[in-house]
Symmetry: C2
DNA sequence: TATAATATATAGATAATCTATATATGTCAA
DNA sequence: TTGACATATATAGATTATCTATATATTATA
C-alpha cells in the first residue's frame, strides 16, 4: 500500500535523524536504508531529501564531510550533531504522543496499549 | 505537548470520518469532540475544518442537513455516507501500516507490537 | 445593552512534500 | 570504446493540507 505523502509529512526529519543516530550516511544511502527498514513503505524522493539535509545542516543538526571510503567516487556524508540528537529525542516523544492519541480516537475514546 | 501541524497532516480526514461514523455532528461540535477524545492534543481550527467538510461533501463522502434539535439555533449537521465509510476503512488501514513502519524504523529494524 | 462564546465561511500565508530537470560519475554490455 | 543505465547530488516550481486572519450572524450572560 502506498502511503500518502501528507501522512508521511512531518516524520521525515525524525526518520532521517534516526538513521544518522546509528551511523554516518550519504544521501542516496539514506533513501535506500529507509526503504529497506520500512519494507519499501517509505520511499523518499531525492528532491525531498537533499533540500531537507541542507536545511538540517544549516540549522546545526547535522554536519557533512566528503569522503570516498571505497576509493570509488566522493560522497557527501552526514553526521548527527548534538542538537540533532536533542531534536531527535523531541521528535520521538512527539510521535509517541501523536500516535497514541490517534489510536485513542480510533478506538472510540478507549485507551490503547502503550503510553 | 503541542503536536506540529504537519504531523497531523493527512490524518485529519480520517479522524473526522471516525467521529461521524459514531454519530452525526455539526462542525463546531467536531472540533470540541476531537479535542476531548484526544485529551486536547488535536485542536482543529475552524479555518481547517469547514473547507475540509465542504470538500468531503463535494466528493460524496458526507451529506449535510440543517437542523435545530434543541430549538435554539439552526446548525449544519454532517452524516457519513457509504463512500465515506469506505474511505474511512482505507484510511485506518493506511494508518496502521504507516504507524507500524515508523515504529519499526524507530526500533532500529526490530518489529514492533501489533501488525 | 454590551461583551463573549458559539457557529459557519472564505481568502491568503506557510510549509513539506512532490515532479521535473540538470549535471556528473561509475559500471557494464555490445 | 561507446552508449545506456544506475548512482549521486542539486535546485526550481507545483501541489496540497494545514494555518492565520477576517467576516458575519446568533445566542448567552453580565
Amino acid at each position: 500500500m502506498k502511503i500518502s505523502k501528507n501522512l508521511l509529512s512531518g516524520s521525515t526529519t525524525m526518520l532521517l535523524l534516526k538513521l544518522l543516530d546509528n551511523k554516518d550516511m550519504y544521501g542516496y544511502e539514506m533513501i535506500d536504508e529507509l526503504a529497506k527498514r520500512s519494507d519499501d513503505t517509505f520511499t523518499l524522493k531525492a528532491g525531498t531529501l537533499y533540500p531537507l539535509l541542507h536545511s538540517l545542516e544549516k540549522d546545526g543538526m547535522l554536519i557533512s564531510y566528503e569522503e570516498n571510503p571505497d576509493n570509488s567516487r566522493v560522497r557527501k556524508y552526514y553526521s548527527i550533531h548534538k542538537d540533532g540528537k536533542k531534536l531527535l529525542k523531541e521528535k520521538e516523544k512527539e510521535w509517541k504522543i501523536y500516535s497514541s492519541k490517534i489510536n485513542k480516537v480510533l478506538e472510540g475514546g478507549v485507551k490503547f496499549e502503550g503510553i
